[in-house]
Amino acid sequence: MFVHKVVVPVAAMVIFLLFWEALVWAMGWPNYKMASPSDLWPAYVKYADLFVINSWQTLWRTVAGLGLAIIFGTLLGMVMGFSRIMREALYPLLVGFNAVPKATVVPIVALMFVGAHDFNTVLIAFMISFFPIAVSVSIGLSTLEPEYRDILAALGASKVTIFWKIALPKTLPEFFGALKVSVTLAFIGTNLMEIVSPHGRGLGALFDSGKTNSDYPLMFAVLIALAALGILLYYVVIALEKALAGWAVRD
């Protein structure tokens, strides 16, 4: 268990870093083309407090956006899952909304709410990540076999009871499937805004300052920090899934 869950992934990570180091060394790439892992370490040491502050900025705004996406996506999914009319009305709108590349929305939002940087960032993280959740919840609810409803409805149970006792738990596996996608998307949203919007907050801004100062190891160091945060968030979702929908996992 320990070997599979910890040793194997860590070993893979180490091999990857060694390979990266070796590749940069063998190709003789200069720093501005490709920094190697050994260049990153000094960057982390030098900017340690900046990394801590900005990682926290990125993290909390991503989680806030994702939290809103979960609440709004679930409510929207419920509305579409329970009412066919709402489903037919909202689906095209939603698909169209999702099709708009968020990179084009970022400058618009940044202009719309000038100065409200936290708000902007959370908004983009939210906008980019609620779609999978809404779709999965609506599909989960609308494909609930009538018998599942009937075992409780036949006893006079209310719609709310049926939702809490059956529909909601039954959609949890799909919900978590979507959440794994959304958590990555929210992260991308946060970073888009941080890079574009000139407020100097978050890992995206740190990346941007690395770019301005031609500090290439810093830019790569930010990328790796982002990856680490992404992995952290992803595994939080996995842990939640295990706790709440572990019954659906067969191993």
């Binding site: 076999e145 018998e147 599942y148 009937d150 075992i151 409780l152 409805a153 036949a154 006893l155 006079g156 149970a157 009871t161 006792k165 059956i166 738990p169 039954k170 949890l172 929908a245 019954w247 659906a248 067969r250």
Partner: protein, 269 residues
């Protein structure tokens, strides 16, 4: 109230509005079942049998006619009804015991949690699922899941049990096992039963009255009284009387399907 039927379906007509226009499924249907009786309903596929169960359970309202249970007109679902389907619909996130106890979370009872659990365990033992209380549904065979589903439909002591092809997806041996379990359960748990089935042998083995429905829209085309009472064993299915009843029912089904004229060839002399 000795003579009044416990389940009384009176002149029920029902039509669904579908995309391709109205679809009438039940036409002036009459069925009554006495208290403690067990009525099997057979009929061609798609004639409206499941619709009938949903009407009796109060999940649907008939366009015309009335359904009465226990001398009261059914207007909405009521907790004195238990239901089981071909699909056992056990909740995968609950153990077997928790699945069986589900109805008691809905139906108001005066019993304590402990008494409820005892009742669920008692029923599970009755159908032969002792020792499986803490298993997940996916760890059980199809027949065992159906047994658990049966326990769930009975746990809140309903006086009407509605079964919609509960054994339809099981193999022949498992099905015969469950028939015998049904008799055992019926002996201990008093209920009035309405059983939908495709299996004529099942209908005469379990029920004391078999109603043959016509093709859609369904009417009660033929009613057969099964002159056997109480528990029976499988040998009964191979007696002369059983063979005669099966012949009659088979012929009635052929008429309902439109494959035989409304004549007399197979009717007993």
């Amino acid at each position: 109230m000795s003579d009044a039927p416990l389940i009384d379906i009176k002149n029920v007509t029902h039509t669904f509005q579908t995309k391709s226009g109205p679809l009438q499924v039940l036409d002036d249907l009459n069925i009554s079942v006495r208290e403690g009786g067990f009525c099997a309903v057979v009929g061609p596929s798609g004639c409206g049998k499941s619709t009938l169960t949903r009407l009796v359970a109060g999940l649907l309202k008939p366009d015309e006619g009335e359904v009465w249970l226990h001398g009261e007109r059914v207007k909405s679902p009521r907790s004195t009804v238990g239901m089981a389907f071909q699909n056992p619909v056990l909740l995968e996130w609950r153990t077997i015991l928790q699945n069986v106890m589900l109805p008691m979370e809905i139906v108001p009872t005066k019993t304590t949690k402990k008494q409820q659990e005892e009742r669920a365990r008692y029923l599970l033992a009755l159908v032969g699922l002792e020792g499986f209380e803490d298993k997940r549904p996916s760890e059980l065979s199809g027949g065992m899941r159906q047994r658990a589903s049966l326990c769930r439909s009975l746990v809140h002591q309903p006086d009407v049990l509605i079964l919609d092809e509960p054994f339809g997806a099981l193999d022949a041996f498992t099905r015969e096992d469950l028939w015998q379990t049904m008799h055992k359960v019926k002996e201990k748990e008093p209920f009035t039963g309405l059983l939908i089935t495709h299996d004529l042998r099942e209908s005469i083995f379990l029920a004391d009255q078999v109603v043959v429905l016509s093709g859609r829209p369904a009417r009660a085309q033929y009613v057969l009284d099964v002159p056997m009472d109480g528990p029976r064993d499988l040998e009964h299915l191979y007696t002369h009387e059983a063979a005669e009843m099966l012949t009659i029912l088979r012929h009635q089904i052929e008429i309902a399907q439109g494959r035989a004229p409304v004549g007399s060839p197979a009717e007993p002399a």
